[in-house]
Symmetry: C2
Subunit: 338 residues, 2 copies
């Protein structure tokens, strides 16, 4: 493992927890004994086994799923890269607190505890097309907040974000990490028209010219292009890994935030699943690069953790069947002829 500035988060944790293949194999064996043709629950079987491997439990639980929604403001918003003004970040945080947003309804439905964590909304990051978005201390501080926000009794972490203009930040990060062209990765975000989209592309291109694409440390890339909520997500992904907690990443922005960590370690996202394929056009390309498959494809592009909360319902279905079904022996059902 390379030694970089992000090592600070792994101090005292020299060995990063890894997937428990022994428990996962036992879970696979259990799946094969349940009253269904082998493999017939498809990805549900895969998800249950994956949860078993990370939780190190033959029968994984979803007793304490938490959703953390981090919010931050972006200096680049002044360049008109979003269809909404930046005060909407604060207004939506208020809406989250009052229970009126999509993520509130979805967490209620999925029985997930929701925490909304606004980070210095009155201090937007600097316009990253003109300079670095944050200094390193600001990055560390946001990451640390994310890191500290993961409860230790959490058995599934659902991550989301809110930040007007943060698809711009996520696009720049993704272009740099995966060396993909700006035009290919830049989408309409909350709903830009054609000329606004062209402008957004131009601004991201100029930012990439300014800061480059060569980064060896997540801290560096987040300092150039990041938002505070994006850094916090990266911090919480690390925290979950150190606690062996499986993670559901939401859409494009969450994925970009988590992707910054592969600069540190290519396997660092093995405890994460992509909840859904966002209709933000860069997401599919980023996922292809990450070789990760989304659980759902519902044309969502809202953020807030909405897709991840919905995907948690699929994990519940996976665990309900894995934990609750009878075996062939218990149910006295004849097994396969051949």
């Amino acid at each position: 493992m390379k030694h970089t500035e992000i090592d600070k988060f792994f101090k005292g944790n020299i060995k990063i927890p890894s997937y428990d293949h022994l428990t996962a194999n036992k879970a696979k064996h259990r799946q094969d004994e349940l009253t269904k043709p082998i493999g017939s629950l498809g990805k549900l079987e895969e998800f249950a086994i994956w949860m078993a491997g990370w939780q190190k439990k033959l029968k994984p639980t979803m007793k304490n799923p938490y959703c953390l929604v981090f919010a931050g403001n972006h200096g680049i918003s002044n360049k008109g890269v979003s269809a909404y003004p930046s005060e909407v970040t604060y207004q939506m945080v208020e809406n989250f607190k009052k229970g009126g947003a999509a993520i509130n309804q979805l967490c209620d439905l999925a029985n997930i505890k929701l925490s909304v964590i606004p980070i210095d909304l009155d201090k937007p990051t600097r316009d990253f097309s003109e300079g670095k978005a944050m200094d390193k201390n600001e990055v560390f501080s946001a990451m640390q907040l994310g890191f500290d926000s993961v409860p230790s009794d959490c058995d599934l972490l659902v991550l989301g974000e809110m930040g007007i203009s943060n698809t711009t930040s996520a696009t720049a990060i993704s272009c740099a990490i995966f060396d993909e062209p700006v035009k290919l990765l830049t989408g309409i975000g909350t709903g830009l028209n054609k000329s606004q989209l062209s402008k957004k592309i131009k601004i991201i291109k100029s930012a990439l010219k300014l800061h480059g694409k060569n980064f060896k440390d997540p801290i560096d890339i987040l300092s150039c292009y990041g938002g505070r909520e994006i850094a916090a997500i990266a911090g919480s992904v690390i925290s979950a890994r150190l606690k062996s907690i499986p993670v559901l990443l939401d859409g494009f922005i969450c994925t970009a935030a988590a992707s910054s960590l592969i600069l540190f370690d290519k396997m660092i996202l093995d405890h994460c699943r992509i909840s859904h394929l966002s209709s933000e056009q860069g997401h599919a390309i980023v996922l292809r690069n990450l070789k990760m498959e989304p659980i759902l494809d519902l044309n969502l592009r809202l953020g807030e953790g909405s897709g991840a909360a919905i995907a948690s319902l699929i994990l519940r279905a996976a665990l309900a069947t894995h934990n609750g079904m009878s075996t062939f022996t218990d149910a006295k059902v004849t097994t396969k002829i051949v």
Copy 2:
């Protein structure tokens, strides 16, 4: 509308209820006022509007979702077209009754009332590679049972089936309706090996030679190739339509059963959604013919209504957001700049 034998089910219901565009438009308008960028909940918005249009309610409900699992036995089972012996149909019905199967866990999770309806399990249909599977009275009787099984207070109907060898029946039905080649539509069902699959294809081909592909009435095609559970599903789809109840069809067999009704009326499945894309290979081709998109793609191939019960969770997410979110005005959130 053509007058055919199936008209008997529509007696006294000369006008088949149709989608309520007025309520659907109001629901669309509501979606556009909720605190999210317009369209950002993607298919969730579409599903909520569709439910509104069929239930004729601006805020559709899922208070009384019912899952009906019909079970039947198939004479063609004697030809070795399944990896399991036909007594498994009865054993699995017992498993359903004791609560040990996948569908029990999934209905519990999704808060769906489950009814398991075995139909004359001791009277398998006749081997349809040698003659008609059922006479018309048997088809009517199974359809009527399906028709009568839909509770009138039901606000979402979730359909499933159990019947060893019923992918063989469903494949023959699908080949006939959509004029597709047997080889393309025949899959491994519960898990055949290569030589068993070849045999299954050969048997379906010979059956299609015997009964042909030209059918004008659902009753006829079900009589030649059907199973009792398949006919019951067709009956329950009609019943739901007459009551304006939206329907979630499960995988390949449910879809084939429902497809038989398009011989009667091409729009008769407008109140139905396909829950998931089965990994049974014929399903994708049938859906392409029907121009219907699956809600989920989880490589399921279990049946029992399992995929439909899982998809009902997505509909719950659609209704939770549609019914529960605040509007921009209520939440005092600034709307789009342009």
